[in-house]
């Protein structure tokens, strides 16, 4: 038995042999594992499918499907309150995206390149939102605004969303910045560029895919965010996710299925786009030099 396997025992050094060994294992298809995984996928998509299906229901029921209709989408399009909320959500997402990308990218660059004590302190502060549950950050932001005497409004939601999106941008960008070879920047400076020019003309273009990806991701996350918006929003017009929350709590309106389906479809597209953006750039020549590999 062991003798027969000797050739493959040497395998790990050669990648081709290793994939063959892997494929050999895959040939013995583990039926139970595949069944569990299939069931998992079924349950993962079932709720999404249910919301989407009943958004096209011609009846008001949430359990009986009467037939295909766009009735609830029409209701949504004519609902001025929901449309106003949609506008609020879009505004919040755009502002939060711009603000957090600007602050987050600069923070990521500074954190990687600045090895001072202030740098490590900033690194710690940056981690706080990632280990704090949303309800705590929501309560804290609300208290801060109330404490400062600022009336809650769309503006306060924007400020709070920026605060908690900075960390995401920084986390995404930090590994990319760390992978850049600082010698390329130094080469630019040896060729007469100032430090700032080196950052603007060499570093930032190299980071562009990651910056775009994080921007799209933040837009989607903020648009979908509910807890933070719920604690920091004013009365009117509230962000769409807060509206959905009240609608779900106080009686079921099928319109919510239509809004929910649109939101799910929108954010699924955006998140898939965010995952795909680096690939659009990834394999393109010159920039690869910069990724210290």
């Amino acid at each position: 038995m062991t003798l027969l396997k000797l050739p493959s025992a040497k395998a790990p050094t050669r990648p081709a042999a290793r994939t063959r060994a892997r494929r050999g294992r895959a040939d013995r298809r583990p039926r139970v594992l595949i069944a569990v995984t299939a069931l998992f996928f079924l349950l993962l998509y079932l709720p999404i499918a249910v919301v989407a299906l009943f958004s096209f229901n011609s009846k008001k029921s949430l359990t009986v499907f009467g037939g295909f209709s766009l009735r609830w989408y029409r209701t949504f399009a004519h609902d001025d309150v929901l449309i106003a909320s949609l506008g609020t959500s879009l505004r919040i997402s755009l502002v939060a995206m711009a603000g957090s990308v600007l602050l987050g990218v600069a923070l990521a660059l500074g954190l990687v390149r600045c090895r001072t004590r202030l740098g490590s302190l900033a690194g710690l502060i940056m981690l706080v939102p990632l280990i704090t549950p949303e309800i705590v950050t929501g309560v804290a932001s609300m208290l801060l605004f109330k404490g400062l005497g600022v009336a809650l409004s769309t503006g306060t939601v924007m400020l709070a969303e920026i605060t908690f999106s900075i960390s995401y941008v920084t986390v995404i960008l930090r590994s990319r910045v760390a992978a850049l070879n600082p010698e390329v920047e130094e080469a630019a400076m040896d060729l007469g560029a100032t430090r700032w020019q080196a950052v603007r003309l060499v570093t930032l273009p190299a980071l562009l895919p990651a910056v775009l990806a994080s921007a799209v991701l933040i837009f989607a996350l903020v648009f979908d965010d509910f807890v933070l918006a719920y604690f920091t929003t004013g009365v009117d017009p509230q962000p769409l996710s807060v509206r959905i929350y009240s609608a779900i709590r106080f009686g079921v309106q099928p319109t919510i299925n239509a809004v929910g389906t649109l939101m799910l479809a929108g954010s699924i597209c955006l998140i898939a786009l965010a995952l795909f953006i680096p690939r659009l750039f990834g394999r393109r020549g010159g920039l690869d030099i910069l990724s210290g590999e």
Partner: protein, 299 residues
């Protein structure tokens, strides 16, 4: 080349000081922003936990332990214990579900691996509220899941999922299982398959190989996943609201109630600090574990 090096280094010494200064300026706006809005607000929560309110219900600063003392009320300790129980149970269920899924995709996914993981991750980051709402429809008394279970005889007419603890945990699992899958998948992807084969070569059965080779090798991924699930599960209030009844409320629901309906801000702040304390203990436990693991790995 060797000749050039000293001169270029000496030329770089000047710019390096200005470089550090520039990078500090890069770091400053974001750090100040977060200190002002985040650290300050967390401090404010701590201060208000010992504060009072005026006649109109507005928060007042002061030193009054009424809010903190109220935490000892059995009504609150019961909710805290329940939240802990639900969160820990959620962690366990997530591990049990995520491990086989991550394992199957990492080791048997072949060239569809990335697509399959993306198919899990993408919907998970889409609207949490809408997903949870859809899940509550699936779990409802005449929803598809219970109908299917009744059809195969695994449930009878009286079986309920919504408005029970099972429903709340099911909601939390559905909400956060992806945070378990990602680190586990990363760990299993890195796993050297020849280790498993070595286990087999040494006459370990599939079960023994799994428990003595695969599982220990991916322990860190599992530990990271447990923390990542525990944090949001402990602070969640949507699941208990949509899937549970009044007997299933969690600490998040209490906090929400104290700030919106009850208007008892000092008590709400005290509850928030209590939640943070529990999470901090969990985080510290995790950090100690990983540090011990790293020390062992180095030996």
């Amino acid at each position: 080349m060797a000749l050039l090096r000293p001169s270029s280094r000496s030329r770089r010494r000047g710019p390096d000081a200005t470089g550090t200064r520039m990078w500090t300026w890069f770091m400053l706006p974001g750090t100040l922003w977060m200190t002002g809005f985040l650290i300050a607000s967390l401090v404010l929560v701590a201060v208000l936990a010992v504060g009072t309110t005026d006649d109109l219900g507005n928060p007042r600063f002061g030193f009054d332990l009424a809010g903190v003392r109220a935490l000892a009320d059995p009504a609150y300790t019961e909710v805290l214990a329940r939240s802990l129980g639900y969160a820990l149970l959620t962690c366990a269920v997530c591990l049990l579900i995520a491990y086989p899924v991550a394992y199957t995709i990492a080791l048997h996914g072949g060239r569809y691996k990335h697509a399959l993981i993306a198919a899990i991750v993408v919907p998970f980051f889409a609207n949490y509220l809408v997903r949870m709402y859809g899940w509550s429809v699936v779990l409802s008394d005449d929803g598809p899941l219970l109908r299917a279970l009744r059809a195969v005889g695994l449930a009878d007419g009286d079986t309920k999922i919504l408005n029970t603890g099972v429903g709340v945990v099911a909601g939390l699992v559905y909400g956060f299982v992806v945070f378990m899958i990602i680190p586990l998948y990363a760990a299993l992807e890195r796993l050297d398959v020849s280790l498993i084969e070595a286990g087999r070569d040494l006459y370990g059965g599939p079960v023994r190989t799994f428990f003595f080779v695969t599982l220990p090798a991916t322990r860190q991924g599992a530990a990271a996943g447990l923390v990542l699930v525990f944090l949001p599960a402990m602070g969640d209030f949507v699941s208990a609201q949509l899937m549970g009844g009044p007997d299933q409320i969690m600490i998040g629901n209490l906090i929400q109630d104290k700030f919106f309906q009850g208007q008892n801000w000092p008590l709400g702040s005290a509850l928030t600090m209590l939640l943070m304390l529990v999470l901090l203990i969990g985080m510290l436990g995790y950090l100690r574990r990983t540090r011990k693991d790293e020390a062992e790995a180095r030996r």
